[in-house]
């Protein structure tokens, strides 16, 4: 009679001891692929390359009109800037927006969760680069175009298609990039 106690101890084959290393090798290959892929490493809106969604915004202040989706498809590329008077980086980017306006860029603003007096005070202090300013009190547009915060800027081409997204404040070194993207969108 053989001892029944032996039944569970099967001698492991020598090659099986290398199996973990082989699996790990496969993992490394996979991960190397992932690291080397040319990837956009920032969160980008899924909406890039797609037309703007339907929206219609009330004016945020008295002396600039609000706007709707239809106003964005004017045949000329425009910059859509999402800002708020309570947002400090928005104040930081104000000079760059003014510079873009000087360069002839049409800029439309969306004030997120803001009050008329605050927006007016903000623009009085930092300058008003906007052709139109819509009020978005519920962040509806923000969600619809896939923006994750303020400030953000979108390059919209003449047909109302989103071509480029800039996350965060526009710093001086970003101005040429945005001008270039606007030119591309105008072609």
């Amino acid at each position: 009679m053989s001892d029944p106690v032996t039944s569970a101890q099967v001698k492991t084959a020598r090659w099986a001891l290398w199996l973990p290393l082989v699996l790990f090798g496969a993992f490394v290959v996979l991960v190397l692929f992932g690291l080397l892929r040319p990837a956009e490493r920032e969160v980008r809106s899924k909406m890039i390359g797609k037309p703007l969604p339907e929206f219609s915004l009330q004016p945020a202040i008295a002396d600039r009109p609000g706007f709707a989706r239809a106003d964005m498809a004017t045949g000329q590329p425009r910059l859509l800037n999402i800002f708020a008077s309570w947002c400090i980086p928005c104040a930081v980017e104000a000079p760059q927006l003014l510079a873009l306006k000087q360069a002839g860029v049409q800029i439309d603003g969306v004030a997120i969760r803001d009050k008329r007096e605050d927006v007016e005070a903000f623009l009085a202090r930092h300058g008003n680069p906007f052709a139109r300013i819509g009020a978005d009190n519920v962040s509806a547009i923000q969600f619809a175009i896939g923006s994750s915060g303020v400030p953000e800027s979108f390059v919209i081409d003449g047909k109302g298609v989103i071509r480029y997204q800039h996350i965060g404040e526009i710093r001086p070194e970003h101005v040429p990039v945005i001008l270039e993207k606007l030119q591309e969108a105008g072609r």
Binding site: D3, P4, V5, T6, S7, A8, Q9, K11, T12, R14, L17, W18, P20, L21, F24, G25, F27, V28, L30, V31, L32, F33, G34, L35, R37, R41, A84, W86, C87, I88, P89, R113, N137, V138, S139, A140, G149, V150
Partner: protein, 647 residues
């Protein structure tokens, strides 16, 4: 000065680690035996230096020293003190320093207290620990220096991600890190044992407290993280199979398997190669998890500051550490002598099943986590979520829970199922009845399975205590019973949550009422409120359970200004039989407010169960440490007597 002091301490610690590695390796040779004597002191000093370095960074955060880049990027002078301190580890560089500190302190502790193992194995272990540490020192010093200065100093800091400004999250990362990095000791023990081929009960007993301790912290870290995600993200769920969650679950699964196999090795001197293997795998999973999270290779809601260069650095570390350890395993495991034999139906047999099933679950989670990457390599964009993870993990977890009920009743070495059949009949009957009752009510398959198993396990987990005098039951046995009972409790919570949650998305005006499950909820008012570094809209809800007295809930939509971000603070009302969960949403055009309301029966049992599991681990750890101490003292006494007699 403080920053420079911290950096100097870090460099010095790295140098000592290099010396420790060298002395450890030379100490193993016949000529260098004397060098081996400095290894333990080196490990101790190295640990102290990492502690000093970490404390230096903490002081910088406490003072909000804006001339240090890391502080300027991640803190703000207007932040509450708790979050200033928590900011130390709430970022990439600081958390890596925390990692290195835990590793250094663990190494010193091993060097100070571990006296059971033969000296060569100890040398190899400490050399292994130094080797792994060196890689992380290099990572910190060359690519993630936390003490880098900013010239000129920033006028104000940029703040800490508001989602992280929460007391639960202040302590969640360090808890998880202690768990992750504690496993490095098990890893080093495995390396040491492979080098000297000394795999046996002494090795298992030396390793066990480390595995237990790390496992307790990992369990608590996961429970805390799950509860944080539940109330802070405002999605009403408690587990999302997010890569970051999986990154903490995978080492936990490996550590759980290791915990069980190390018991077999300690008690029966079986499963030798397998235990060594798991020792390597557990810490490897910690490193893989960290890599996946930090490299930005997978998309996750938890994205850390992502940097491909750092990713490559950690990958190189993985290659060297894990690849090296697995190669050593391939070379040496075949020469580790075979352990004791046992029958399939025995305590060992059940633990082998448990190990195989836990490893399979680990494989499933790893595959699901990496699958999006694999698919991308093949040219497709996919995301893998609960529809994959839930059923696939259930395939392995369900049989594992059955084995968990029966295994502890079996004897070591050899037993028969016939012997225990009368013991398991009560839990089995309870399981079938519960399953049938809920199935007839029309509950879905997985929750029914969950409730049935939970009912059976609640009884089965207590069975090992049957026929024993409770006062004489040893702590480790209590630990097992409590932990297994905790699994049943958590399982019941999960099943109830998925079967009986009521969810409502409503738009209300102030003064209007809505019913959710047994609750009547009035929207009393919406008002603005201000906190130290945020403003918020706050809804006041008055809720009555089943016509009882009213309780107040105040969910908020918060706006932080440094950095500008909005978070929703859910409000919870906890009763013994569940939780009411409220989230304030957007304002609709007509002046109504969106509210998301959930009634979740028994959902809290998930986390209570998790805490019980950790408590079970703690009892087992205390029991083991106490008996080790007793043995230690007894041996000292004998040695003392002998020395007296010899005089």
């Amino acid at each position: 000065m403080i920053a420079e002091f911290g950096l100097a301490a870090l460099w010095l610690a790295a140098a000592l680690a290099a010396l420790q590695l060298l002395a450890g390796v030379l100490g193993l040779t016949a000529r260098g035996a004397e060098l081996g004597q400095i290894v333990r002191p080196l490990a101790v000093v190295q640990g102290v230096l990492t502690l000093l370095s970490f404390l230096a960074l903490m002081v910088l955060f406490w003072q909000t020293d804006l001339s240090v880049k890391l502080v300027a990027m991640n803190s703000h002078s207007a932040k509450p003190l708790l979050y200033k301190l928590a900011g130390t580890w709430g970022n990439h560089e600081g958390s890596m320093l925390l990692w290195v500190m835990v590793m250094g302190l663990a190494g010193s502790f091993v060097a100070l207290v571990e006296r059971r193992l033969p000296e060569p194995t100890m040398l190899a272990t400490l050399a292994g620990q130094a080797f792994v540490s060196l890689g992380f020192y290099a990572f910190l010093l060359f690519s993630s220096n936390p003490f880098e200065r900013l010239n000129p100093a920033a006028p104000e800091g940029q703040g800490l991600n508001p989602l992280l400004q929460d007391p639960g999250l202040a302590f969640h990362p360090p808890t998880l890190y202690i768990g992750y990095v504690g496993l490095s000791v098990a890893f080093s023990f495995a390396i040491g044992a492979l080098v000297t081929r000394e795999v046996g009960p002494a090795f298992a007993r030396a390793m066990r407290p480390w595995v237990l301790g790390s496992w307790i912290f990992l369990t608590l870290g996961i429970v805390a993280g799950s509860y944080w995600a539940y109330y802070e993200l405002g999605w009403g769920g408690w587990w999302f199979w997010d890569p970051v969650e999986n990154a903490s679950l995978m080492p936990w699964l490996a550590a759980t398997a290791l915990l069980h196999s190390v018991s077999v090795l300690a008690a029966r001197n079986a499963l030798r190669a397998w235990t060594v293997m798991l020792g390597v795998v557990a810490f490897s999973m910690s490193m893989v998890g960290t890599f996946l999270v930090r490299s930005g290779i997978l998309t996750s809601v938890h994205a850390f500051a992502v940097d491909p260069e750092r990713g490559s650095f950690i990958l190189a570390l993985l290659l060297i550490n894990i690849g090296g350890a697995l190669a050593l395993f391939g070379l040496r495991a075949g020469t580790v002598t075979e352990g004791e034999r046992f029958a399939l139906t025995s305590r060992e047999g059940a633990l082998v099943f448990n190990n195989v099933l836990l490893s399979a679950t680990l494989g499933i989670v790893l595959l699901g986590t990496l699958y999006p990457l694999l698919a991308e390599a093949l040219g497709a964009q996919v995301s893998v979520g609960p529809p994959y993870f839930n059923p696939m993990s259930a395939v392995f977890v369900v049989p594992m829970l059955v084995v968990m009920g029966i295994g502890p009743l079996l004897r070591w070495r050899r037993d028969s199922l016939a012997r225990v059949r009368w013991s398991v009949i009560v839990p089995l009957a309870l399981m079938l009845l519960t399953g049938a009752a809920f199935a007839l009510k029309g509950v879905a398959v997985l929750p029914v399975l969950g409730m049935a198993l939970a009912a059976g396990l609640v009884v089965a987990s207590l069975l090992p205590l049957r026929g024993r005098k409770l006062r004489q039951v040893k702590l480790p046995l209590w630990g097992m019973v409590v932990a297994h009972f905790g699994v049943a409790v958590a399982l019941f919570g999960m099943a109830c949550d998925s079967a009986y949650t009521t969810e409502k998305l409503v738009a209300l005006r102030e003064g209007e009422t809505v019913a959710v499950g047994p609750w009547q909820i009035d929207l009393v008012a919406i008002e603005p409120v201000a906190g130290p570094n945020w403003t918020a809209l706050q809804a006041t809800l008055s809720a009555r359970y089943d016509g009882g007295s009213a309780v107040k809930l105040q969910p908020q939509a918060r706006s932080f200004w440094t950095p500008p971000q909005q978070t929703s603070e859910s409000a919870l009302e906890t009763r013994w039989n569940g939780q009411l969960y409220a989230v304030l949403g957007e304002r609709a055009e007509d002046g109504r407010w969106q509210l998301r309301l959930w009634w979740k029966p028994f959902v809290t049992l998930i986390w209570y169960g998790g805490v019980l599991i950790a408590l079970g681990g703690l009892l087992a750890l205390l029991g083991r440490v106490a008996s080790d101490l007793r043995r230690f003292i007894a041996r000292d006494k004998i040695a003392y007597r002998k020395s007296r007699q010899g005089r």
